[in-house]
Amino acid sequence: MQPETRVQPNPPQADTYSFLPVWRSLALQLLILTSALLLIVLIGEFIQSRFETRIDRALSFALVALPLMLWLYVSVLPESRVARPRRRLLGVAVVSALTASAIGLPLVQDFFRVQEWLPLQSVLSRILGYTLTAGFADAGLKFIVLRYLIYPQGLRVRADGIAYAFAGALGYSGFLNFAVVWQLEPSWNVSAIYLLSNVTVQLASSMFIALGIIESYFSDAHPLVLPINVLVAALSTGLITGLVGGFMSGPLSTAGNTDRPLFAVALLGASLILALGIVYFLYSNSERREREAYMSQWNPNGI
């Protein structure tokens, strides 16, 4: 009897290269941005500073540029120092901003006209309304940008999905911030709240889209995983946009009602941490599972 021989196949030729860690730079940028905006809101709240209109406007536009500058410095420039950089970061950001300008904002503001009928609805109707209008419009457009610019050709490792989604969120929210400052001409401390709100909404939504793309592509997940993530992305937009207005407005009394910007900042900060926490947990979990599967496949003895 011929002895049974087990042939151990050789591991495939792995494509190994260096890449920049994405979560650390993302956390750093958000920490700096949130701290700076919180400081501006606090100054506006307690010092009641008022600048000349021209200076106020210039400061507001400088704030619009802040997240983009931070991203260029912390995320984009270091890419040039690695062997195989993420070349499409700027492209994704620019196309996302153009998409927001050409389709996103006109769709939500002029077609759905959400500002005319949603703010006066009940909380649940607001959440549902913003999910079905702004939520699906924003998530859909950002997904389409990622689908045609990086999926699958730009995805080499899971972190690429997060990096490109972050670029898309910053580009998209960058144009929305610019439009708000241009159209409403708010004072610089109010601009800070608008800016934090737009960045939080777009970033939370983009992270869920990225998670869906990563799971679908790298884990070849069930066909419903990606749509469910896009649905959650739209829902996150609906939840944050629907709630932030209520947190911002103070209770109505005989003395009138006052704004509560710190409540809004607290809600936005909590939303940002929660959304990123959920995505990071699921991302790490699936990455760990894939690594374990890889190890067990090529090292059955666990060595």
Binding site: D15, E116, W117, G140, S216, D220, P223
Partner: protein
């Protein structure tokens, strides 16, 4: 700097991934369609107004504010709009047998030119009512300013349209005013309002 084993860029998407992308597109379209449906049902939600004394019944957008105190029978205003609130105002006045529509319009013009800034009549035209009766319309414009000078608001140009019909010795005037930027769009609301107005 970190190192990780990644996929080759040459890897193509699988049939499962193709399905997943197709379902995502369907979900986005379905979500937006539901959003459109919610918008339509909210924007077109109507409330009913009945005034037995004046013999008027009408429907108006439910989200608009109804007012009955003033020099009119009733008026409804879109308070959600920033700047000048779109308004539809219905008023009636007794007229003599020889009074023509033009007399009523001239009277309105005299009154308004004293209280409205830069009030200008743009023209007169016929207007077909829901019961196929012919009414007369007068279009005009003026400049609206914030009531409080401390609000530092910018003035806006307002376009208006008066629809006048004389019946049973009464001149009934439906006045419609909206910010010039959204006037054409808001005219749809006026047409819908006139369709449901009975007097």
């Amino acid at each position: 700097m970190e190192f990780e084993t990644g996929r080759s860029p040459a890897v193509q998407i699988t049939a499962r991934q193709r399905w997943s992308i197709a379902i995502t597109y369907i979900l986005i379209v379905a979500g937006l369609a539901l959003g459109f449906n919610q918008r339509e049902s909210t924007l077109n939600l109507a409330s009913e107004y009945n005034n037995l004394e004046a013999g008027i019944s009408a429907k108006y957008p439910a989200r608009w504010l109804l007012e009955e105190t003033g020099s009119f029978i009733f008026r409804v205003r879109d308070m959600a709009h920033r700047g000048f609130n779109t308004v539809i105002e219905v008023s009636a006045a007794p007229v003599g047998r020889d009074t023509s529509e033009r007399n009523v319009f001239d009277q309105l013009t005299l009154q308004r030119s004293q209280v409205l800034t830069d009030y200008t009549v743009l023209g007169y035209d016929d207007y077909l009512l829901a019961d196929d009766a012919l009414a007369v319309s007068m279009s005009y414009s003026f400049v609206a300013r914030d009531s409080s000078p401390f609000l530092e608001g910018v003035s806006s140009i307002v376009n208006g349209l008066d629809i006048l019909t004389i019946r049973r010795g009464q001149a009934l005037v439906v006045s419609f005013r909206a910010d010039a930027e959204i006037y054409q769009r808001e005219l749809e609301t006026l047409r819908w309002f006139i369709q449901h107005l009975e007097f």
